[in-house]
């Protein structure tokens, strides 16, 4: 019989991704309402030292699947070992982060298990004993609540940075269970991995994002955003216009055809606020807009707006925040 909430503990380079803690907190919340337990599955090479720490964030059990072949993510290897584990343990629900990895893995595992999958969810709750997920559709212009009434496990990916992380309980440990890895047939070969090295937080996990649009006028002016990001410990993003103009790489594009972000603070400089951009950032908690056009659409979504030339506003803002933080 199906039992328990299973969470995919995503790690990279020996570090647990923040979304894992968000999943554990959400998992704990629904598990307690269903009277079930929470477990996590941790997959990789040399990752077992990370397992214990997941207990503090709410995992009762951690399944560790280690193998040299799991060092780099490949769809086949990860989907095989994770689907096997899910089949053996038959959880009620299996939750993953809606990261590049989580999204890729979830689709394959869901099909292997012939179950339903709700992706990019922004909330999860229990209603009448049923797990219900909330997810935006049509670029955030509509919201659905949906469930998977019969197929098991219920599967979902949860958008990073949206759900809260409960205070970790120091000293609480999880039962660690090592599971043999049955890698199976891996049909893709990783020839090369190109890492973007950056001292800044990742866009999808950042607490603060400083983002520029067409109003930046050119790549050389992104220095203004970087200076502000430095004092805030923020990530730097951009609108599609900047990417299409070749000023910045696609990897930092926020919006419908870029990344979806939900930071605590999103500062939009020189961004007009097209619906496609809003789709990627409207779930930010606080939005600040700096734009010289007082009619810019972005002001309708902004909590704080400054109508003015960003080339005058940003340097002063950077200096003032530096002073406040001193």
């Amino acid at each position: 019989m199906a039992k328990g909430i299973l969470v995919f503990a995503e790690q990279r380079d020996g570090k647990i991704k923040k979304v894992t803690y968000e999943l554990l907190s959400a998992g704990k919340k629904i598990a307690s309402q269903l009277g079930e337990e929470v477990s996590a599955v941790l997959v990789g090479k040399g990752v077992s030292s990370l397992a214990g720490g997941l207990g503090e964030y709410g995992a009762d059990k951690v399944y560790v699947i280690e193998n040299d072949a799991l060092e780099n993510y490949t769809t086949d290897a990860y989907a095989n070992v994770v689907a096997d584990l899910v089949k053996q343990n038959e959880p009620t629900a299996f939750l993953l982060g809606c990261s590049i990895t989580g999204r890729d893995l979830a689709a394959q595992v869901a099909q292997k298990l012939d179950t339903g999958l709700l992706t990019d969810c922004i909330n999860v709750m229990v209603e009448n004993g049923q797990i219900v997920f909330t997810r935006p559709i049509y670029a955030g212009k509509a919201i659905i609540n949906a469930a998977i009434p019969e197929a098991r496990p219920v599967m979902a990916t949860i958008r990073p940075n949206v759900l809260p992380v409960d205070e970790p309980q120091a000293g609480k440990s999880a039962e660690v269970i090592n599971v043999p890895a049955n890698i199976g047939n891996v049909r893709t070969t990783v020839k090369d991995v190109i890492r973007q090295v950056s001292a800044r937080p990742e866009l999808t996990e950042a607490d603060i994002i400083v983002s520029g649009g067409r109003g930046m006028k050119g790549p050389e002016n992104f220095k203004l955003l970087e200076d502000l990001a430095d004092v805030l410990g923020a990530a730097v993003g951009a609108s599609r216009a900047c990417v299409d103009a070749g000023w910045v790489p696609l990897s930092i594009q926020v919006g419908q055809t870029g990344k979806t972000v939900s930071p605590n603070l999103y500062i939009a400089a020189g961004i007009s606020g097209a619906i496609q951009h809003l789709a990627g950032m409207s779930s930010s908690k606080v939005i600040v807009a700096v734009n010289k056009d007082s009619e810019a659409n972005i002001f309708k979504s902004a909590d704080f707006g400054v109508v003015g030339d960003l080339f005058e506003v940003l340097p002063v803002l950077t200096q003032e925040i530096k002073k406040l933080k001193a």
Binding site: R12, Y73, T75, D76, I100, T101, A106, A107, Q111, K112, T115, G116, L117, L118, T119, D120, V132, P136, I137, Y138, A139, K141, A142, I143, I144, N145, A146, A147, I148, A151, R187, T189, V190, K191, D192, V193, R195, Q196, I208, L232, L250, S251, Q256, T257, L265, I275, I287, S301, D303, F304, G305, V306, V307, G308, D309, V313, V316, E320, I321, L324
Partner: protein
Amino acid sequence: MKIVALVKQTFDSEAKIALEGGKIGRQGISLIMNPYDEYAVEEALKLKEKHGGEVTVVTVGSDEATEAVRQALAMGADQGILVNPGTEDIDESTIATILAKAVSGLEYDLILGGFRAIDDGSAQVAGRVAEILNLPVVNMVTKLEADGGKAVATADIEGGSAVMEVTLPAVITAQKGLNEPRYPSMKGIMQAKKKPLKKIGLGDVSLDASQVAAKVKVLTYSLPPARAAGKIIPGEPAEAAAALAKALREEAKII
């Protein structure tokens, strides 16, 4: 090279969404081919131009999805297949089941699709098709080279990109940056009208409605709450910037 491109007809991204009778209204909505699927069709055409072969476009949808297939044919695809499931009670798992059935009746070296659709953004149909057909999948590809036996794809991964080699046949999904889709030429549009477009139903791919019933059930549709009107901080730029810094610390308590 025989290539299948999976496409979906979606709402235009500019569409204004409203509810009608508790569901998403379709009135006054213009429909487009999912932009990520345009990348897939373009890549299929480029490969055909390089290696020869043919491109078949496959979609699942009601009759109105014909337009998306016609567009792909006008871009240069050779033939189209539209499977009309005849029911709205479908989800990603069942769309993938239908697509896989339709594709399994074709000869193919490569299956291309967009990595996600801009309407429901679920990013799982192509992956599921790969799983059903027992093919490898590489998602979010921004560069692709393929010949008879294998493909080398550059794909987005967490924190960077990876170059992956995969034996064909395989499923490859397109990410923005893969190419610039062409516009159909007038000649292409005229030719498309004469190209084969097969419209079939579930029975034609040996499925019945019970095999494609959705596993996911939507309980409610709603519109997002409007964000409360914000505050414009007055003053000259320098003055306003200073006041903004103060508001972010004292009012929003966020820095």
